[in-house]
């Protein structure tokens, strides 16, 4: 309950930062008072109003004894947040390695651990999928659909 009442502080902070950045935009002084800052300023005000309304909603629900943090519980809770954080970090590494290593190697290296973790016990299916899918999709996108995909460390001649 307290968490939900605390959360509106985030859009409020965002509005403050956004307004500060809006004021940093150089005013060219050309034309009328309608500048590149006008619309963003209005958005900052709108976000502050949204944050206040959220706070009021959360407070009202809390008073009525209905806990607004229900969404967190309803959507599976935060219990697995560390696993999701690890997936995000792993995906970040994949994106870093995507161009230097190339699609084939980076994708195989990315898929295999994820499948081993999320599809436990099915070693053959996991290994086959994480090797064959990158090869199949590489040829589909690169050779048939003409989508540019990085080769990375694998020399060009291997791709025909």
């Amino acid at each position: 309950m307290r968490k939900e009442r605390f959360l509106p502080a985030i859009p409020f902070a965002l509005a403050t930062v956004y307004l500060f950045l809006t004021e940093q935009i150089r005013d060219t002084g050309v034309g009328t008072q309608i500048s590149a800052r006008t619309f963003p300023r209005l958005l900052s005000v709108a976000l502050v109003i949204g944050a206040i309304l959220w706070f009021l909603e959360a407070s009202r629900e809390a008073k009525r004894g209905q806990s607004p943090p229900q969404p967190v519980v309803a959507q599976g809770g935060w219990g697995h947040i560390w696993v999701i954080a690890a997936v995000i970090a792993w995906t970040g590494f994949y994106f870093l390695a995507f161009q230097p290593l190339g699609y084939l190697l980076a994708t195989t290296a990315y898929l295999l651990p994820l499948m081993i973790y999320f599809n436990r016990g099915r070693w053959a299916a996991n290994i086959l999928t994480s090797v064959l899918y990158p090869i199949g999709s590489f040829y589909l996108f690169s050779h048939i659909l003409g989508v540019p995909i990085p080769n990375g460390v694998i020399p060009e001649r291997f791709f025909g």
């Binding site: 859009p11 309304l53 959507q75 995000i88 999320f118 995909i149």
Partner: protein, 503 residues
Amino acid sequence: METLAAIVHGFSIALQPINIFYTFLGVLMGTVIGVLPGIGPSAAIALLIPVTYGMNPTSALIMLAGIYYGAQYGGSTTSILINTPGEASSVMTAVDGYQMAKKGRAGAALAASAWGSFIAGTLSIIGLTLLSVPLANFALRFGPPEYFLLMLFAMTAVSSLTGKSPAKAMISTVVGLMIATVGVDLQSGQSRFTFGIIFLEDGVGFLIIAVGLFAISEVLHVMAEMFRGKVEILRVQGALSMTREEWRRALAPMLRGSFIGFFVGVLPGAGGVISTILSYVTEKRLSKHPEEFGQGAIEGVAGPESANNACTSGAMVPMLALGIPGSATTAVLLGALMLYGIRPGPLLFRNQPDLVWGLIDSMYVGNLMLLVLNLPLIAVFVRLLHIPSGILMPLVMALATIGIYAINNNPFELHLALFFGILGYLFRKVEIPLAPLVLAVVLGAPMEESFRQSLLISGGRISIFVSSGVATTLAVMSALSIAVPLLFPIIGKWRAGPEDPNA
């Protein structure tokens, strides 16, 4: 007469072999995506847009639209067989569809869903055909103030009708508008919110946001949900057809569902979920046996399934006639149009008749294909439910990577998409709806442009926004869309009387 000629011409486009192929591909992919829980049509369309860059825009749009309405067909399969909606709009189908399946009537439930979808799909495309041109002609009279207010109304309506909390929807909309302000301001040439990053000078690409918010965040969400355990898949029992008695009971709900779905779809933000709830409630009220609802009433499947299909064509009306998307998926479709270099809006019917009428007429063809595909091939689609999410989700992530990289071959955009994926995941966690954000991203730039043009025309006077009848009506409607959801709880509390402190 002119419109009739355009409709006939549209069929000559839609029935070209290449377009028939893309219609088939679209509806097939849509059905598959609808069947697979976790991957929605918005994510699928966003992922496929980069692949369609080399294609003729008409064919590409025909395929992407096929995914949209095809997914509504597929979404019912999981609702009926595993009590898990493939799409949010199939939630109500699960209530009675799953009960029918448990009683060995899965075949009849799937048939009611397929026939309802076909009838509603066809009727609503007729509605789309008839309503779009007059609406587009009317919108030709709009100037910058009217356009600004129309976009404002679309956003406020989406905010008030999406999710449970108007405040959260408002925050989502404003964050979307803020994202749309990133980049060089075209009127003054000033960089805004780019933090010196050169890749942000052109703004944040719509596709990056769409793939991040829908595909990546969905993958993260499904991965978190995987810890909840496995679901039981019921077998398809009984013939894939309805008895004469079931037809008698289902036909009127199908027609009513078509009507409800289409008109709810036309309203910005109302979307599939609301139309199915309205249809379900209507059928329960009209039924002579309301006690059967929730226990496996065929009306509870036929009505909502028809409504959610009719809704897709309804949502196409403002998208094509006004250039205003009313839902997340139509926002992605509109984003696709812009990426193909086509300016959406009322002039689309004049400037791109091949595209508009080819697309609309392809939907008649696609609906017929879906009926033919869905009934005999249901067993094949059910097999898809056996693909482990532990394999499927990482593959979607890899596909998303290709999709984003294909846009500009820029690794920075991969990280940006991951950022939006995390943002989307966190929004889902605290139940902030994503649809208003995507809509705001799509409409943000033209909205600001119309706002500034209006103020320049009037010399800074805000009164320009109530200077015409249309503008005033739209301004009042926007104000009501904001005020009514906020006032509802207060009015409800006032009508309920003072609270008992001892209660």
